[in-house]
Symmetry: D2
Subunit: 238 residues, 4 copies
C-alpha cells in the first residue's frame, strides 16, 4: 500500500506497524510539484521498509522526472538513492512524509520572504516617507527582472512573475491565506527536536493572522494602552 | 533646558551640542509612569552633562517617587545615582532618552507576551479543537488570579485586570494598535548594535499589522498559492 | 487525587477519565510562585469536576494567598471563583494545567522582553557605534530605577534587580538556558488553535539556541554564502 | 557617474543631488549574481535621472543577460523597461539600490528558510525523540532531490546541493555568519514604512546571534531563572 498524498508522518509509523501485522507493506510517499507537476515533473520522497521500496522502485523511476530535469551538481558523485532522477528512499516508515513536511515548511518560509520583500517594495510609495525617499516601484517588472541571473531566482519567483503579469496590483486577491497541516507540523517537529525555527514559525503565524479581522491579542493591546496611557484607538489606517 | 518628553536620543545629542555652543545646558529626561504617574509616582532617566545634572538634582529628587515606593532589593548596597529614589543620571547627552526608548521597547514586548497568552486562553474554546481539549476560560478571572503571588505579576497585568473587569470580552475595543516612535527606534538601536531582538521587533510588527485590513504580503502569498497549487482563497474565518 | 505539579493538560484529561472509571476524582492544579512561594504566597489554577473542586475548596482557600495580597482592582465586582483570594476553578479536567501552561508561556515572553532590552542597554557601549552615540550604562541601576513607578515594573524585574545587585556584569552566568515543557506546549496550543504567537515562540527558540555552540542552520548559511559570494567565514566576534 | 556596488540608497539621493549641482549625472546600479555572475549572467537594478539612464542604456543592455536567460513568463506582455533582458530602470535616484537592498533582504530570508528546514531534517536523529520517530536523513541527497520538479527549487538550493556534495556534514564550516549592510537596511526600511517584516528581521538576527558565544540576553535569562525558580544552569548540550 502506498500513501502518495500528504499525511502526518506519525500516522504513517502507526499505520505501517498495523499493516505489517497483517502482512501488508506500506510506503509513505511525499510528492512535490503542485499543479504543474504533470508538465514540469515532480519529485518523490519515500519512506518505509527498504525491501518494499526496492520492489516498487521501477514505479518511482518511471514517475519521477529524470536526471536531465536539472543541470548536474558540480563536484557531485552519483548517489545510490535516485536523487538525481527525482525520487529518494529517505528511510523507515514516516521518513518520506517527514521530508515532505519539512519541504512544505521551507516553502512557507520562502513564500513569506518574498511576500515581505515585495510588501516593502510596494510600500516604498508610503506618504509617511520623506518625498525624496519615496518610490513608485513596478513590482511585476522587478519580479521579472530577478528571474535573470539574480541570487533570489526560484520556481516560486517564476510563479509570482506570472501572477504579477496577470494582475500587477494583485487586486483580485484578498489576502486570506490558508495553511495545510505540513507547515504546522513543521513547527511541532522543530519544538520536539529543540531546533530554533523563527522564520518557519513566523511564516505560519502570518497566515493565521491573515484569516482574522482582528485578533484578541490586539484588543488586549488596545485595552492595556488605554489603561496605561489614556491612548484612544485611532479609527484605522497605518 | 530640560526635555522631559519623548525624543530620539540622537536629536538630544545634536541639540545639546548646539545649545552648548550658546552657553545653554541641556538635559534629556525620560519619564515613565503613564497617566497614573501623578497618583503612583513616576521615575526619571536623565542624560546630559554631569554638572548640569548635579545643579538640578534637587528638582528630580522632589519629583521622583521616594525610596519607600518599592520594597528594598535584598542584598543591594545603596547606589550613588538616586535609583532607589526613582531618578537616575544615566550618562552624557542622549543617555536619558536612550534608556527611556529601551524601556518602551521592553514595554511593547511585555504587552505582546500577555496579549498572545490571553489570546491562546480565549481561543481555547475554538471549534477546531477536539471537544475534550476545549475550554471556556474566564480570562478576566485569570488576570485577577495572577495578580496574587504568581510569577507573571506586573503593573501591566494590574491594568489588564482593570480593563477585563470593565469589559470581559473587550468588545469595546477594535484592536487597531498605534505605536509611538520608541518601539521603532528600539529596533534601529538593536540593528546598529547587532543585538538579536526577535521579541521586541515582533511586538512592533504586530502593531503594524493590526492597523491594516490586509497586507500586500498576504496578497502575494495568495497569488503564489493559486499559481503553485491551484488553491482558491477561502472567503474568511480561521 | 490532586496533581499539583506541572503536567501536560492532555495527560490530565486522559488520567481523569481513567480514574473516573475507578470512582476516583482527579483535580489538576497549577501553582505559580516559584521558590518564593512560601514567603510571598502562590496562586492556584484548578481543573476537574466542579463537585470535586467544591469538596476541596477549603484546602485551596487555606493554601492560597488571601485578598489582601494585592490591591483591589478598581471597578471590579467580586467574582465567585476565588480569584481575589488567589485560587481559581478554571473548568473541567485539564483546565488548571492549561492555564498554568499559558502562564509559563507568558513568563518566557516577559523574560525575553527584558533580556533583549537589557542586552541593547549593555551593548550601547559597542565600538561599532559612533562615539557620540555610545553609552556605558549601569544596567543594575536601571533595573532598580524601573522598580519605582515605571510602566515595566513587575515581580520578574524585582528578581532581575536582585541578580544585578549581586553581580552587575552577570559574570557568574554562562547563558545556557533550559526550558521546561510548558513553554513548548504553549507553542503547540497556539498552533492547534491557529493563534499567532510570534513572541512566545521566539522566546522558546532563544533558549533552544542558547544551548548550542552553533546550529546546523548556521553552517548551512555559511555554506550558501561561500558558494554564492565567495564569502569566507570570519573567525569570530560580532 | 555610475555606482555599481552596494550602497545605502539614502547616500545615493544625497550624492546625486550634490553631483547634479556640479553638472554630473549619477546612476545607482544594484547588481545581483554573486561570483557566478560572469558565467551565469547578472541582473541590473538602475536608479537616477531617466535621461541619464537612456543615454547609458546600451551599456546595460550589453552587460545584462538577455531574454533567453529565462523561459518567458506565460501571459506576460513585453514591458518597456528591459526586465526581460535583465536590466531595469527602477526610478529616481536611490531606486536602484533600494531594490537591490530588498533583493538582499529577501535573499537572507530565503537562506534562513532553507537553513531552518535542513536543521530540522538533520536533527531528526536527536536522541530526545522517541526511537520510532527518529530518522538519519541524508540531507545532501534531499537537496539534490528537491532540485527536480519540487516547489522549493531555486538557485540557492542548487548552491546548497553543491556545498553538501562536497561536505555532507558541513564539517568544514563553523557557522559564524556575517551580514552585509543590505539586510540591516531592509529592516530599517520596513520600520520606516510600517511594514511587518518578521521573517526578514529574524533572518538578520540569526546572523547576529551566530557571531556570539553567548548573548547578554541569555545571561539575563539565566539570572532570572535562578532567582525565580532556583534553577541552576546545566553545563551545556541541548
Amino acid at each position: 500500500m502506498i500513501n502518495g498524498g500528504n499525511a502526518d508522518f506519525k500516522d504513517d509509523v502507526r499505520r505501517a506497524a498495523f499493516l505489517r501485522g497483517k502482512g501488508i507493506s506500506f510506503l509513505d510517499v511525499g510528492t512535490s510539484g503542485g499543479v504543474w507537476g504533470l508538465e514540469r515533473g515532480y519529485c518523490l520522497m519515500i519512506g518505509g521498509e527498504k525491501t518494499a521500496f526496492q520492489r516498487t522502485e521501477p514505479l518511482f523511476k518511471t514517475l519521477a522526472p529524470n536526471a536531465s530535469s536539472a543541470k548536474p551538481t558540480p563536484g557531485r558523485r552519483k548517489g545510490s538513492g535516485g536523487a538525481e532522477e527525482g525520487y529518494l528512499y529517505c528511510g523507515p516508515s514516516g521518513a518520506g512524509h517527514f521530508v515532505k513536511m519539512i519541504h512544505n515548511g521551507i516553502e512557507y518560509g520562502l513564500m513569506q520572504a518574498y511576500a515581505e520583500g515585495f510588501d516593502i517594495l510596494k510600500s516604498a510609495s508610503s506618504p509617511q516617507l520623506p518625498p525624496e525617499h519615496r518610490y513608485e516601484l513596478e513590482v511585476g517588472e522587478i519580479a521579472e527582472l530577478w528571474r535573470r541571473g539574480s541570487v533570489v531566482g526560484s520556481w516560486l519567483l517564476d510563479l509570482l512573475a506570472i501572477a504579477l503579469a496577470e494582475d500587477p496590483a494583485l487586486a483580485s486577491y484578498q489576502g486570506y491565506v490558508d495553511d495545510s497541516g505540513e507547515g504546522r507540523w513543521t513547527i511541532l517537529a522543530a519544538v520536539e527536536e529543540a531546533v530554533p525555527a523563527d522564520v518557519l514559525s513566523a511564516s505560519v503565524y502570518a497566515r493565521f493572522r491573515s484569516r482574522q479581522e482582528h485578533t484578541f491579542a490586539e484588543k488586549i493591546l488596545s485595552a492595556m494602552r488605554r489603561q496605561s496611557g489614556g491612548h484612544q484607538e485611532r479609527p484605522s489606517g497605518r
